[in-house]
């Protein structure tokens, strides 16, 4: 009897995993999109920590606004701030807003201990700014954990998302946004600096790569967002 239960359980698990594996990448992307479609608009409050070698800036309070189909705005909630321009790519909804892309199944991968399905999205519209997007999808929770996007004019971006209490709406609690920057150089003598004798660490951080970490504290979902916010 016990052996039969064991075999039965094993068969069930194999069936489940087979079903999961057998699920086409198109279906999975569609499911992700359906979850994202539940969100009509949101206003998210959070904090942003920027890590760029030449910028010594404090953590800033930010508010992120989204409105269907593709409006997204990141605003500083506490006055002056450096806001990464590629923030528009934080918007997964925009990426998956229509069916005008070709999906290539890149198989499975283990990413940070999670078995993910990898999908490459190639927009069919030649005019589109996005050239290629690679999505790392958690098939169990049907959410995007990571994306790599190459654009025609705004370089490449990488996004990593961690989910918490808003996973049901496929909205992340934490977003790590990695982007390329140019090295910042001012001509010597322009700023009449005081040499305080403090040497630089010697270990220069990569001057061409920057990172912004946005931790969302709360979302106001589907409560309506004025179009004025996006101007």
């Amino acid at each position: 009897m016990k052996t039969n239960i064991k075999y039965g359980l094993l068969a069930f698990l194999l069936f489940i995993s087979f079903q999961s594996y057998a699920q086409s990448i198109e279906q999975l992307v569609k499911q992700v999109r359906e979850r994202l479609d539940q969100v009509v608009d949101y206003e998210a409050d959070g904090i942003m920590k920027t890590n760029v070698s030449f910028l010594k800036i404090p953590v800033s309070k930010v508010t992120m606004y989204y409105k269907k189909p593709n409006k997204l705005k990141l605003k500083s909630a506490s006055g002056f701030s450096f806001l990464p321009k590629g923030a528009v790519n934080i918007n997964m909804n925009q990426l998956l807003q229509d069916d005008n892309y070709t999906i290539i199944d890149e198989g499975t991968e283990v990413w940070k201990g999670v078995n993910v399905r990898v999908a490459k999205l190639l927009p069919q519209n030649d005019e589109d700014d996005i050239v290629l997007s690679t999505l790392y999808i958690d098939p169990n929770n049907r959410v995007i954990l990571k994306s790599k996007t190459t654009t025609r004019e705004n370089g490449s971006f990488e996004l990593e998302m961690k989910y918490g209490k808003y996973i049901g709406m496929a909205l992340p609690d934490k977003i790590n946004f990695t982007f390329h920057t140019k090295d910042y150089k001012l001509p010597k003598g322009l700023t009449f600096d005081f040499d305080d004798g403090k040497k630089t660490s010697g270990i220069k951080k990569n001057p061409t790569k920057g990172m912004a970490e946005i931790t969302i504290k709360s979302y106001k979902l589907n409560k309506g967002v004025s179009d004025q916010v996006f101007k």
């Binding site: 910028l55 701030s81 990464p84 001509p187 005081f194």
Partner: protein, 297 residues
């Protein structure tokens, strides 16, 4: 001593050249404020040109009162020594030129007290000039441009950096910076008094002070390793811009600014000590020379 000091302050207040300094500062500050109100964006575009592809920056908020004050001080504190020299350089030589020096010293006043009164009066004039500058560049700028976080553009070794200081962490830095500037300008005042002791007319010490300051400032800003190492540490002009040290905010391992901190306190303390040592040297020398001086005019 108070009587002597009152007389010296009265003399300074009565001289039209005293007000040239206040008028010059007002003119420069107002021109700066007008220029940045009209087209400050161009300056920000220049300073941020490398990063505008990656970051959205509200330049209107970046050009705020705190930023303007820093920019104005950066320019003005190079010129203010000339204005201090106008008054301090005239202190002894002006009396000699008018023939009043011998007359004054026939009164029951020691030469040392007399020179101290001149020195303190020059100090009060310098502080008044700085208060005027603070009023125009900080208070008026915050009134015109508003208040927000402050940006500092800096070249440190081979690296260029942008520092952002939270608005609520700025004011104490200005108080400290103006206090530092007062000490730095007192070096100029004491040098002028020293040169004034040796002169019989005002033009000589004023021009000599200006020439020394301009020459040493140029040397202090030449970026040649041999000069950096062997010459600059000995020049007081190297430490004149030390007030900026209060705006070089300390950062943690992730590069996040630490509120209320400065990057290198030791360096600021060292700079103040060196400037104070120069004041003691120049004024002590002036005292010695004045006591030994044959007063013939």
């Amino acid at each position: 001593m108070w009587g002597l000091l009152s007389i010296e302050l009265y003399k300074i207040a009565k001289r039209p050249r005293t007000y040239i300094a206040f008028a010059a500062i007002a003119a420069i500050v107002l021109i700066f404020q007008f220029a940045f109100k009209a087209d400050g964006k161009s300056y920000m575009d220049l300073m941020l040109q490398n990063i505008q592809d990656n970051f959205e920056v509200d330049k209107k908020l970046a050009i705020n009162g705190y930023f303007m004050c820093y920019l104005i001080l950066n320019t003005l504190l190079v010129q203010v020594p000339i204005l201090v020299a106008l008054v301090a350089g005239d202190s002894i030589s002006g009396e000699a030129n008018m023939g009043t020096l011998r007359l004054i010293l026939t009164r029951p006043v020691s030469r040392s007290e007399f020179l101290w009164a001149k020195f303190i009066a020059s100090g009060i004039f310098t502080v008044a000039l700085l208060i005027w500058m603070a009023f125009l560049s900080l208070l008026v700028s915050t009134w015109i441009f508003g208040v927000d976080d402050m940006l500092i553009f800096r070249v440190k070794g081979d690296e260029s950096q942008i520092l952002q200081i939270a608005a609520n962490d700025v004011l104490w830095r200005y108080v400290a910076a103006f206090a530092y500037a007062a000490v730095a300008l007192m070096v100029i005042a004491s040098l002028s008094i020293l040169l004034s002791v040796y002169a019989e007319n005002s033009i000589g010490p004023i021009v000599a002070t200006v020439c020394i300051v301009v020459f040493l400032t140029i040397v202090s800003n030449i970026n040649v390793p041999i000069i950096d190492k062997n010459v600059k540490p000995w020049l007081f002009t190297t430490y004149m811009v030390g007030w900026k040290g209060f705006f070089y905010i300390g950062t943690d391992a992730d590069g996040m600014p630490i509120s209320g901190s400065v990057e290198n306190w030791a360096s600021i303390r060292n700079s103040i000590s060196i400037l104070l040592a120069h004041i003691v040297l120049f004024f002590g020398w002036a005292q010695y020379a004045f006591r030994k001086k044959d007063i013939l005019s």
